[in-house]
């Protein structure tokens, strides 16, 4: 997970160099904590589940609450990190513009938003299920 994240980040332009290795490692560990660890905890080594998660977009189709709980925060983290990279090239010369600080902030914010979204989705889902059940 961390390796995948690190690859993504470097490809997207994260600085490569001895100075930055540690930061990149920390960041990708954090990202994998947000994205891969929950999924791994739930799915374990089950190949089919992984494939399902990776190959389908689950919004609106899945009936499993756990799917929402896993995927929405991780998607949120990825999108947040992506958006968090935007202010990096600006010339404001603030300390937080350094790699990976603002990306991390973005990831955390995205993760939180994703959790909220998943909460809402779960509630909506429950209600729908209840309606259906009625």
């Amino acid at each position: 997970g961390a390796f995948l994240n690190a690859f993504g980040a470097i490809v997207l332009g994260a600085p490569v160099g001895i100075k930055y290795w540690i930061a990149t490692t920390y960041w990708s560990c954090l990202m994998s904590l947000f994205t891969f660890v929950p999924a791994a905890c739930v799915f374990g080594a089950s190949k089919v589940d992984w494939q399902n998660v990776l190959s389908h977009s689950i919004y609106g189709t899945s009936s499993n609450v756990a799917d929402y709980m896993i995927s929405a925060p991780s998607h949120g983290a990825v999108i947040g990190a992506w958006l968090g990279a935007w202010p990096m090239p600006l010339d404001w010369e603030r300390p937080w513009q350094e790699w990976p600080i603002c990306v991390t902030y973005g990831a955390i914010a995205g993760h939180v938003i994703g959790m909220l979204v998943s909460l809402i989705l779960i509630v909506a889902h429950k209600r729908r299920v209840r309606v259906k059940a009625d």
């Binding site: 997207l12 190959s55 977009s57 990279a85």
Partner: protein, 1007 residues
């Protein structure tokens, strides 16, 4: 049987005609939209970068006569020798010249605030203490200082031009003469030169570029090494001793760059600033001591200390804030000395005022296009009528300029009206007001003269004199303001209409594309029922739309404009990451459902021979191949990004190109050689793919090989000859041979490739049209493929020839990206819609544009490459080459699009008779989408520019970017034209051949 066939043909023909009509309509609409866009763009350019009429030539003796409209009879008098000219001027002017020698000391970037304070307050204490001598001069009323407002763009060269000519140039003036820098307009230095002054220049070499032949002695320093704050100034000051001792010069120009460099490094509060100001103060002290020691009647010297622009708090300049425009004009000489003064009053002037002031002080004609007004305090030593005369000369000169711009000023009553200037009614227009002011000034001048002649009642004379001075200066100030507004003001309604034109064209392009999308889906659905393209939006499509939106939004921020390469790289690599994810997803999905579908797909593959033929790979390898191609694109993009860390703010970041620049040149050479070899090998491989051994192809290969050899030869030659002047003969001729061979072979390919591929190679059943489908399709595809590959590869070689040596590997990387994405798209037909692919290619092109080290400042244009292979100087040719260099990557991608569409269409064609429909399907999207994306960018950026027209960075950031956007538009037009031409020509030839063949076969059957 024949009847049947005829009927079928007729049916097909009607369908054909219908589709043809649609295609023609689309083409017409597109052309109309493009024309509209061009019209809007040119309107906007005309409105935003006004080209004001200027007076050509140099002012001479006629400037001492009152201006009259109509043809000037006398024309050019005989060219007088300098001495006679000097005495002629002095006689005509009726004003004695005040000074004999001039020392013009330019301190680059010194804000007037440092010396004169701000808002009537003296400068900060540390500033006072760091320039003790200057402050003592000011306090002792031996110097007079002005806040000389500089006009934007506040960068050195245009400001120097403004100082010496008194004119404010437009922005295009700055941007467009990067190759002819010599200053040709009327200016005081040339005027001084013509009356025999000897000029000496020490300092910034910009002066030498502006006046290459003028100086008697010169020593230029370069402002290139911004980090250096000591040596640049020492190189000027070391001559000071000898020059001040020497008596042979009449005008000495010193240009100190160090203070500007200090500002760029550390801003206004830099701790280097105080020592630098002390150094400047010391220079002023030395000069002043030297010139006062030889103060006799024939060596009256004026010391002028000016700065060309100010600086912001952080030390930048270029915009139009108070801090940047607040430049200094400090005059030290006998005519400004007075008994009482208040040196820290906010005395406002314009930077252009320097030109008429100096011209009148030294008894030379005022430069023709001057819009400045003389500074009256400099003429305190003159008598009253002489002062009036100087004002009159200045007014005449400005009146000439006004007459040139507005014929209304030509009417005699404007100048000579003796009517009611006492009745102060509000004049209706500026012209009328100026007229009134001027006639009032002339009249009071006349009456003042009369009074002086008749009797010496001094009170009345003084009153009249004061009135005349007031009215003159009123006229001058108003006229000057009006003229400078004409130079900088922008007609809003014109700009708005231009923008609306562009918006209309943008929308019509979008409409055409949506029409196309709506039009053929039935056909598409019919033929590609196997495609899983549903109506839902996919992640990549959503992303592209969002990315374009984000890009447009980022254009509004100056920092993002400066760092655009990050945005493009970010967007492109994210797009390809999404492709990667989708590929992985699809592979997983396939492996999920393989068991179910394998048999189906197998039979399907068997049925559709062309489908299978285009694959040539078993599915497992194919998946790997897809992954690898996307990975190649991503990794190559990352290396490209690392090649230039560029941008404008982060230029100092380390990157590969800088490391290579510092390292041994042999490494660069070997990298270049490797990339040339790689290009040649890639070309041969792609020709091998065609599996035909026609003479043309072998010839092409040979010519390409020879071109590669020539490029290599050129590389090695230029390595050997780095010491001698670049423009030697052998490299030039090599480059010329290269141009000839490349152009011939590309044209040959373009013309011949449709003819050589067999349309019906092994046709068993010529009558059945469906049987021959794959063959025809292959003929078309092969010829387009050949043409596209030839384009691409020759273009690559051309780039390798022209680009800077370190850019060789980036060119190769971009080529790799193209090839792998083409392969990827050809393998992955179902996952992405065609427009996604086209936009992805265009994104790649823009990323590559910045990957080649281009930025959004005009400084990064590679001017040196534009003269490769040009033996004599030609603006057009070198401009074309410069364009090719700068836009190498987007054009490469457009050429790659030809390859892409050849690979793309291999199984799209099932109704080969309808060449027009094939044509429209093949070229419509690759042509229209780039146009649309580009027009979105252009339109939104135009709006941004209009909104930002008063922004701080409008001249330093936004306007250069706008020039780039315009050039990108031209580049898009060129690329699209190539695509459309190739497609249309190939289709036309093939349809012609098919028709011939069909006729023949029908004849045979009938026979």
């Amino acid at each position: 049987r024949r009847k049947k066939k005829n009927r079928a043909a007729a049916a097909i023909a009607t369908a054909d005609r219908g589709r043809e009509a649609m295609g023609a309509a689309v083409a017409e609409w597109t052309v109309a939209a493009v024309l509209l866009q061009v019209a809007g763009l040119s309107l906007f350019l005309y409105g935003f970068f006004p080209v004001k009429p200027t007076l050509p030539g140099f002012s001479g003796a006629e400037s001492y006569r009152a201006p009259s409209c109509g043809p000037v009879g006398c024309g050019e008098g005989p060219a007088l020798p300098p001495d006679q000219l000097r005495s002629l001027y002095r006689e005509l002017s009726e004003v004695p010249h005040v000074y004999d020698r001039l020392v013009l000391m330019v301190i680059d970037g010194l804000p007037a605030e440092f010396v004169l304070g701000r808002g009537g307050k003296p400068p900060a204490r540390e500033m006072m203490e760091s320039m003790p001598y200057t402050q003592s001069l000011l306090a002792g009323c031996r110097a007079v200082g002005y806040h000389a407002k500089a006009a934007p763009p506040t960068v050195t060269m245009p400001r120097l031009k403004a100082m010496v000519s008194g004119a404010i140039g437009g922005f295009l003036d700055v941007a467009l003469n990067f190759n002819t820098q010599a200053f040709l307009d009327d200016n005081i230095l040339d005027q001084l030169h013509t009356i025999g002054y000897k000029l000496v220049m020490l300092g910034d070499e910009t002066w030498i570029k502006l006046f290459p032949t003028l100086f008697y002695r010169q020593d230029g320093v370069s402002s290139f090494y911004v980090k250096d704050t000591v040596e640049v100034d020492f190189n000027v000051s070391r001559h000071l001793e000898s020059e001040l001792a020497a008596k042979d010069w009449d005008a000495l120009i010193l240009h100190y760059l160090g203070l500007d460099h200090v500002g760029h490094i550390g801003g206004r509060q830099s701790n280097l600033m105080t020592p630098k100001l002390k150094e400047m103060d010391d220079v002023i002290r030395r000069i002043h001591a030297a010139v006062t020691s030889i103060q006799d009647n024939s060596h009256r010297t004026l010391l002028v200390v000016v700065s060309d622009h100010g600086m912001t708090e952080v030390g930048n300049h270029g915009g139009s804030s108070y801090e940047e425009t607040d430049s200094l004009a400090l005059f030290i000489g006998h005519s400004v000395e007075s008994s009482h003064c208040s040196p820290y009053d906010q005395k406002e002037a314009l930077q252009v005022d320097l030109a008429p002031t100096l011209a009148l002080l030294f008894g030379i004609p005022i430069p023709k296009n001057n819009i400045g007004v003389l500074l009256p305090e400099l003429f305190n030593s003159l008598a009253d009528d002489q002062k009036l005369r100087t004002l009159e000369l200045n007014s005449w000169q400005i009146l000439r300029l006004l007459q040139k711009q507005r014929p209304a000023f030509c009417s005699e009553d404007c100048v000579d009206s003796k009517d009611d200037f006492g009745a102060d009614m509000l004049p209706e227009s500026t012209e009328k007001k100026l007229c009134r002011l001027l006639s009032k000034a002339f009249a009071s001048h006349r009456s003042s003269l009369l009074h002086r002649d008749s009797n010496f009642r001094s009170v009345e004379a003084a009153g009249l004199f004061g009135a005349a001075v007031d009215s003159y200066s009123g006229f001058l100030r108003h006229a000057s303001e009006w003229l400078s507004h004409r130079a900088t003001d922008k007609p809003l309604y014109l700009l708005a209409s231009a923008i609306s034109l562009m918006i209309i064209s943008c929308f019509s392009l979008a409409g055409i594309i949506s029409c196309i999308f709506k039009g053929p889906p039935q056909i598409k659905v019919e033929h590609h029922s196997e495609l899983d393209l549903d109506k839902n939006w996919h992640l990549d499509e959503v992303f592209i739309l969002m990315g374009i939106f984000l890009y447009v939004a980022s254009l509004g921020s100056s920092s993002f404009v400066e760092e655009e390469q990050y945005i493009w790289h970010f967007l492109t690599s994210t797009l390809y990451l999404i492709f990667l994810i989708k590929t992985v997803q699809s592979i997983l999905k396939e492996s999920n459902s393989t068991l179910v579908h394998r048999s189906e797909t197998k039979t399907f593959h068997k049925n559709n021979s062309s489908y299978l033929a285009s694959y040539k790979l078993i599915p497992g390898q194919q998946d790997g191949c897809k992954l690898y191609t996307v990975l190649i694109v991503l990794v190559a993009g990352r290396i490209l990004r690392a090649w230039y860390q560029g941008g404008i703010n982060w230029v100092h970041f380390p990157d590969i190109s800088k490391i290579l620049n510092q390292s041994d040149s042999s490494i660069v050479k070997s990298l270049q050689t490797i990339s040339v070899l790689a290009v040649v090998v890639l070309y041969s491989v792609s020709l091998m793919l065609l599996r035909t051994r026609r003479i043309l192809i072998i010839g092409l290969w040979l010519s390409h090989l020879s071109c590669g050899l020539l490029v290599m030869l050129h590389i090695w030659k230029s390595q050997v000859d780095t010491s001698v002047p670049i423009n030697n003969h052998s490299t030039t001729s090599i480059a010329q041979i290269f141009y000839v061979i490349a152009s011939i072979s590309v044209t040959c390919t373009f013309l011949l490739s449709p003819w050589i591929f067999p349309t019906h190679s092994k046709e068993a059943e010529p009558t059945s049209s469906s049987g021959s489908n794959p063959e025809k399709a292959h003929g078309l595809n092969h010829s387009v493929f050949l043409t596209g590959v030839t384009y691409t590869m020759f273009w690559c070689l051309l780039q390798l020839l022209l680009q800077q040596p370190i850019n060789a590997v980036p060119v190769l990387l971009i080529l790799l990206q193209i090839i792998s994405s083409v392969i990827y798209f050809s393998l992955e037909k179902s996952l992405h819609r065609q427009w996604v692919q086209v936009v992805a290619m265009q994104f790649l092109g823009m990323t590559g544009h910045f990957g080649l080290g281009n930025t959004n400042s005009l400084a990064s244009i590679d001017v040196a490459g534009a003269f490769i292979g040009i033996s004599s100087y030609s603006t057009v040719l070198s401009g074309v080459l410069m364009f090719i260099i700068t836009y190498g990557s987007p054009l490469l991608l457009y050429l790659g699009m030809v390859v892409h569409m050849s690979v793309k269409d291999s199984n799209d064609i099932s109704t080969p008779q309808q060449w027009s429909s094939v044509l429209s399907r093949m070229i419509a999207l690759p042509c229209l989408l780039p146009l649309l994306v580009n027009s979105i960018a252009l339109t939104s950026y135009t709006i941004v520019l209009l909104l930002m027209r008063n922004h701080l960075f409008v001249w330093s950031v936004f306007s250069p970017k706008y020039l780039y956007v315009c050039a990108a538009t031209v580049c898009t037009y060129a690329g699209v034209l190539v695509i459309a031409m190739t497609g249309a020509y190939t289709c036309a030839v093939l349809s012609f051949r098919t028709r011939n063949y069909r006729d023949k076969s029908v004849d045979q059957i009938d026979g």
